[in-house]
């Protein structure tokens, strides 16, 4: 949303980003702490319900995917339509290495994560080298996603094809059960958010902002565009891989659908559309909203898809920067008028 953000009503996103950098350290990380605290309370209310804990785990997973996607797309404008595939590389690699070849669980997950990082870094490197724009990067990664899905379906001996793979590694650890894995995934999500905020505030963040605002100028000012892109691609993909691997061992079962484009990528996009692309708390707000709506309209069957479509259209027409920033913007405007400050023309 690089250019779109700069040009349209979503400029509140950019303003928000810029102002956060001047905040003190505790203030910059405060939203993460609040969210962590609220989310940590969830099992207190629904901890004994298998159904609701399943939903909550799904929400955490998508939120983590969305933060990783944000690192890649939200900050460097590289449209990776391979969220599910990159997670799937690590998920399948880790499951197969540990179950079939008897590798230790942690080592298998590490190798899977690194594999995802290498593939993602390679995407970035290729798209920088060939100077592909957003759409072409999107299409190349999309073809990779679909190709990966076909590969999973085809390599029946290794992946179990359509019937999927029962994952035994992880049994008896913190990854299984109802409440322990919830806190593990929550810890991962919080770590991701901290990493994202830290990246934003580091020289990485300055370079990303400079890139997003004006790539040419950034390059002239000495920002190594290629290097930052490749790093963002690799770091974000490693994050996707880690979540994908954890997911595989937690669910104890994976199939091509677990990482399919129309499941993972589409859902991540909807969540980010809801919460705001390229914002810190967007993935969390979006994921909570999405999970609640998803549960509310569970009985509508096929029409759910239609409802998502309507929501997606309405969100992109109404709040191009996501609901989160829109609410924050409205709050700022309200508090400003409450202080009876002179009305200034709003950037949005």
């Amino acid at each position: 949303m690089s250019t779109a953000t700069a040009q349209t009503g979503a400029s509140s996103v950019v303003v928000g980003d810029a102002s956060t950098r001047h905040r003190t350290v505790p203030m910059a990380y405060a939203p993460i702490a609040v969210a962590a605290l609220l989310l940590a309370l969830v099992p207190v209310f629904i901890g004994d319900s298998r159904t609701y804990m399943g939903l909550a785990m799904g929400g955490l997973t998508i939120a983590a995917y969305a933060v990783a996607f944000n690192v890649i797309f939200g900050s460097t404008g590289q449209l990776f339509l391979a969220v599910g595939a990159l997670a799937g590389i690590a998920g399948y690699a880790s499951a197969i290495l540990s179950d079939r070849f008897g590798w230790p669980l942690l080592l298998a997950m590490l190798v899977g994560t690194v594999a995802a990082a290498i593939v993602g870094g390679l995407f970035s490197w290729v798209s920088v080298r060939r100077s592909l724009d957003v759409i072409f990067t999107g299409i190349v990664t999309l073809t990779f996603s679909l190709g990966f899905e076909s590969l999973l379906l085809g390599q029946r001996d290794l992946t179990g094809g359509e019937t999927g793979l029962v994952v035994t590694a992880g049994a008896g650890t913190v990854l299984r059960g109802l409440v322990p894995p919830y806190y593990l995934f929550l810890a991962v999500l919080v770590a991701f958010l901290v990493l994202y905020r830290w990246l934003q505030r580091s020289h990485f963040g300055w370079a990303f902002t400079a890139l997003r605002d004006d790539e040419m100028t950034a390059e002239l000012a000495g920002v190594d565009v290629a290097r930052y892109r490749v790093w963002a691609g690799a770091i974000g993909s490693a994050m996707l891989g880690l979540v994908g691997a954890l997911y595989a061992h937690h669910e104890a079962f994976i199939s091509p659908t677990s990482y399919a484009f129309h499941e993972v990528d589409v859902r991540t996009l909807v969540v980010l559309a809801f919460g705001g692309i390229g914002t810190l708390m967007g993935p969390v707000i979006g994921s909570v909203g999405f999970t609640i709506i998803d549960e509310l309209i569970r009985d509508y069957g096929q029409l759910r898809l239609t409802i998502y479509g309507v929501i997606l259209i309405a969100l992109f027409l109404g709040f191009r920067g996501g609901v989160g920033p829109a609410v924050v913007g409205a709050w700022h405007r309200l508090s400003r008028s409450a202080r009876a400050a002179p009305a200034e023309p709003d950037a949005g």
Binding site: M1, G138, V140, S150, L269, Q302, G309, V310
Partner: protein
């Protein structure tokens, strides 16, 4: 072997036709319509429903194509309005995300209304020999209709005033505006044409194999791949790329096996983008 080639061409003609609408819209100003496949499936479902109500096939097919055309017009007049006000990458992205939403809406309604429906138009008559290979009547009809449609599109783009206006906008929107072409009108025209062609492909596809209610996503992906390989914005490129990919698809399915085929197809698309981002037939930037 000849049979495989011919099958590939039959499939390729339709791939090309499916991609024409998509590629022209992109050329006209960076609009990527991910609801393209959903439009085709909507046409198929309307036709199937009408055929079940014993409406004659030709009428039902025309009604289906009209439905897809109307969806195209509706998209252009409503959801896509804000997209036109944007520029550059923002425009492409917003069109992509909004049309993805539209695709969800259409797919959801179709799946809810007709959960297990499929359209297949049966063309009677036995196999006809062509180059010593027996061809099914359905394939011949499908190819014939596709060829006629391709011819008409070509005549429209090259010979008519409206068609030249379309090409002028693709080449240079500012210049076209200066000589009195209205880009908004041209876009509306192409949205309608794209819808009609998508509907038509649904009809011709269903003559060789049933078109399921879930086919929309696949249609869109195939059209996207063909569009990219042929060069974004090039109608002729889309047609050639469609035929080439159709043959590649049939050959590798015959020689290697079905699942590797889709990977080869996807790899071909990715490699084309990397080696020649303007597409096989696109003008180099």
């Amino acid at each position: 072997m000849v049979a495989v080639f011919l099958d590939g061409i039959v499939a390729g003609l339709q791939l090309g036709l499916l991609a024409v609408g998509l590629t022209l819209l992109y050329g006209l100003g960076g609009i990527l319509n991910l609801a393209h496949g959903a439009m085709a499936v909507a046409a198929a479902m309307i036709t199937a429903a009408l055929m079940n109500a014993s409406v004659p096939v030709v009428l039902a097919a025309l009604a289906g194509i009209a439905t897809a055309t109307l969806i195209g017009l509706l998209l252009d007049q409503t959801v896509m309005r804000p997209v036109y006000r944007m520029e550059g990458e923002g425009r492409v992205l917003l069109s992509l995300l909004l049309s993805l939403g539209v695709a969800f809406v259409i797919d959801g309604i179709l799946g809810w209304q007709w959960p297990n429906a499929a359209l297949s138009i049966r063309i009677g008559g036995g196999a006809v020999p062509l180059f010593g290979v027996p061809m099914r009547m359905g394939s011949l009809y499908a190819s014939g209709i596709a060829l006629v449609a391709i011819g008409l599109v070509n005549v429209f783009l090259r010979r008519t005033r409206q068609g030249r206006a379309v090409r002028s906008v693709i080449q240079d929107e500012q210049g076209a505006r200066l000589i009195g072409v209205n880009p908004a009108m041209v876009r509306t025209l192409i949205f309608a044409l794209g819808g009609a062609l998508a509907g038509l492909v649904a009809m011709t596809q269903s003559m060789t194999a049933p078109v399921n209610v879930t086919a929309g996503f696949n249609f869109t992906i195939l059209a996207l791949i063909v569009t990219v390989v042929g060069g974004l914005g090039s109608a002729r490129g889309a047609l050639f790329a469609g035929i080439i990919l159709g043959i590649v698809n049939a050959l590798s399915a015959y020689l290697i096996g079905a699942y590797i085929t889709s990977i080869i197809l996807l790899a071909a698309a990715a490699l084309t983008i990397l080696a020649r981002p303007e597409g096989l037939f696109g003008r180099s930037a």
